[in-house]
Subunit: 465 residues, 2 copies
């Protein structure tokens, strides 16, 4: 290893520690060493060496995953491969609207490189200051602009991948249309480092919107939020780039904990059962966006669908509205540990799902509280459960597996997904057989065995057998 | 077979003939029988029977493919499975913006079902009156709106697939986010019936645009068309739903052959070297679309980038402009047989590609004529070659393989694709090894063997060994 990457890039003992634990400190493992290759060729040589020696490889990017997908197991047999040094922007092609970057490039740096070329790279999520594009692609990350631009998968045109045998697949194509065989690209994307190691990607760029406008809507109910989403999609078309929802009591918790923030409504509207945060990205002007907002939202208020609307009049006001939404996880943390779910449901059934699941939780675990918010535009809810008044945190966490099962059974009954945007990692592998058909798991295993017959890439992740 | 699908749905002899030849009459094969199952369960039972008996299966939808992917080989050992009776719309969910349809549903019927529910199904292509959505997905079809909405792959959220062993995979999910394992959906899409048989799909719907406006631009050169595309993308944002280009002499041939059509310019502009056809889909109003067009195109004319612009003032005028574009293949046919290429190139290099390839053709085959048009917004050109003045059609077709190789070698040198939107079928299987790495072909073969170990699904297509 040292001969391939240089002595200083093979970490052991103390230097290796940060790579052996996930950032939420839920998973901890052991490894023979952490290796930090500086080029795709070095990645390939490292993998080849491991393949010949039968040593498992766990790849890590920014270590911001939420499912333990980048943390080695406790056997201590694995090598951890960090993509941190593969962080170059290789090429920006503005006429083709593409950027080619290495896997270890931090998402925010990638966004900034695009912005410098007067282009938008459209993936945006909470961890963007430290997550890497390689990890985003390996987990098919989502975020707040999926409604308009799609998940990480939809940003990628081409990939460079090192196979489990240490060969380099150059699939770095900057083409919108290419029908010359099986879609290897999308197979590697979302496979969480179990089929190959993504070392670089060619990604789509978009024009930078001329203006953005944000609005907070006060709503009577979640069905009204769904009806408003439908109106917003037809009224704004593709200019609608964000549609988040938050239960009223969740926002109340935010402003109670962070008194410098406020819900921008007076009287009853401030106590609405639900709120929606809308973002409009306009290719004309701020005035045009404002007029559009006033037109569509004015009609919705007139029709009684929306109780009240606060349209941000400045960038500062817009940031304040987003800050309310982004403060929810912090407020949650202040309220104590909760049992978290990252689920998606067909949008038409999402309100019924919340009703039915809330009721089932109250029957089985009386008094627990629901913290419901998320990306309604994508059907993606963060449906979290916190302790009842007379429960301790430990008591709640003792029920965690039962709560997971109740919520995920309900998700399944509504034709939803138990992992909308965070992946499987090691957190959800044992739940997959409950919710996926034996056939689907067998197809996945057949592909895994075909590409990685020795089972050396990220063993135990996604599929646990 | 008769016991599974009914005597009348197993065709042999004369009744089977239409299924044994592709519509362009380039390929003809033989088959044991043509079977027309009426449900997914019947498809599964038919496939299981074939699997147990070791009989190959060739699936056909509307038989509109351009690469012979749905035509059996001449061995007469195969069964042809027609999806024609699987033509129901199973569900439209307007709140979720999804439609679930069976594979044999004709694309135009699917578009109309969506339109009746006040939604847009965004895939649109020349064969839409007879091609089926199953075939569109199996070949990952493109068309004229890819610029905005993506290829067939990007329209699909979920699939129902019958495996080579005759099992039914229910992957009919209507979710925008689902990260619970490998992307089987996108692996089946574009695999041309070689990995599984798509029997149904859950597809995305969009709001119907409030207004559409079309314009024809007269341009000096192909680089100017590329520069205009870049301006149109930033000026119109996602409202830009079409950007086609046509060489001037190609349009001249159209109006010469079809005198009722005309190029809507006077004087020199009518003889421009290139033309571009733009379509704007507006979520506000026809007036708004018109104003946007006038603003962006007016600036481009002022800057000297565009020589002249004709904006359609009515639906009839708009249709007349599209009719010019759509008449090109007919005009080509009138001019005699040509050697056709369906290629894509990074947009930034497309002008250079055309220059270099035109010159190479003239050097090797003096006097041949280039017929160049296509979906510039996707980097997809139909780059066709017709005979020189002193050549017969037969002489040109005798050079076909040499012309393919020259053009495709050039495409490869420009990092392009030799099949942008038509697939591989049996037409291009033998070219793949020249342009794809041995590693990529091996990965494809490993997947094929893993899922279809007996090699019974559409043998000889996509991969010929």
């Amino acid at each position: 290893m040292q001969a391939i990457v240089g002595v200083e890039h093979v970490l052991t003992d103390e230097a290796a520690q940060p790579y052996l634990e996930d950032w939420r400190k839920r998973y901890r493992g052991q490894a023979l060493a952490v290796v930090r290759p500086g080029s795709t060729q070095e990645v390939a040589a490292v993998i080849k060496l491991c393949y010949d020696a039968g040593v498992p490889i766990v790849t890590v990017g920014g270590n911001t995953g939420l499912c333990g997908g980048a943390t080695p197991d406790s056997s201590g047999r694995s090598v951890v491969l960090s993509t941190g040094r593969l962080n170059r922007v290789r090429e920006i092609d503005t006429d083709n609207d593409t950027i080619t970057v290495e896997a270890g490039c931090v998402l925010q740096n990638l966004q900034e490189a695009a912005r410098k070329a007067d282009r938008l790279f459209a993936l945006s999520l909470a961890a963007e200051g430290s997550c890497t594009i390689g990890g985003n692609l390996a987990t098919n990350a989502g975020g707040t602009q999926v409604l308009r631009y799609g998940n990480a998968r939809e940003q990628a045109l081409g990939l460079e991948v090192v196979t489990p045998q240490g060969e380099i697949w150059d699939g770095l194509r900057g083409l919108r249309k290419d029908n010359t065989g099986y879609d290897l690209r999308d197979l590697f994307i979302g496979s969480e480092g179990t089929l190959g190691i993504i070392t670089a990607a060619t990604l789509k760029l978009y024009p930078v919107p001329v203006a953005q406008r944000t609005a907070l809507l006060a709503l009577r109910s979640l069905p009204d939020a769904v009806a408003m989403l439908s109106r917003a999609r037809s009224g704004f078309g593709p200019s609608l780039t964000g549609f988040e929802v938050m239960a009223g009591h969740v926002l109340e918790a935010v402003v109670k904990l962070f008194p410098q923030q406020r819900i921008p409504f007076d009287g009853d509207s401030a106590k609405s059962a639900w709120f929606a945060l809308l973002e409009l990205s306009d290719s004309e002007s701020a005035e045009h966006a404002q007029t559009r907002f006033e037109h569509v939202l004015g009609q919705a208020i007139e029709d009684g669908l929306v109780l009240d609307a606060a349209i941000a009049e400045s960038v500062a006001q817009s940031k304040a509205l987003w800050h309310l939404r982004e403060s929810i996880p912090l407020a949650e943390a202040e309220l104590g540990k909760s049992v978290k779910h990252d689920v998606s449901i067909p949008i038409s059934r999402i309100a019924e799902f919340v009703d039915v699941t809330n009721a089932a939780l109250q029957t089985k675990f009386p008094g627990v509280k629901n913290i419901v918010f998320g990306h309604l535009g994508d059907g993606n809810l963060h449906y979290n459960v916190s302790r009842s008044e007379d429960q301790t945190e430990q008591e709640l966490l003792g029920l965690q597996d039962q709560i997971y099962q109740l919520v995920h059974d309900s998700v399944h009954a509504f034709n939803g997904s138990i992992s909308a945007e965070h992946g499987v990692g090691q957190l959800k592998t044992r739940e997959l057989p409950r919710y996926k058909s034996e056939l689907e798991l067998r197809l996945m295993r057949q592909i895994k065995v075909a590409l990685d017959p020795k089972g050396l890439l990220n063993p135990g992740k996604v599929l646990y057998v």
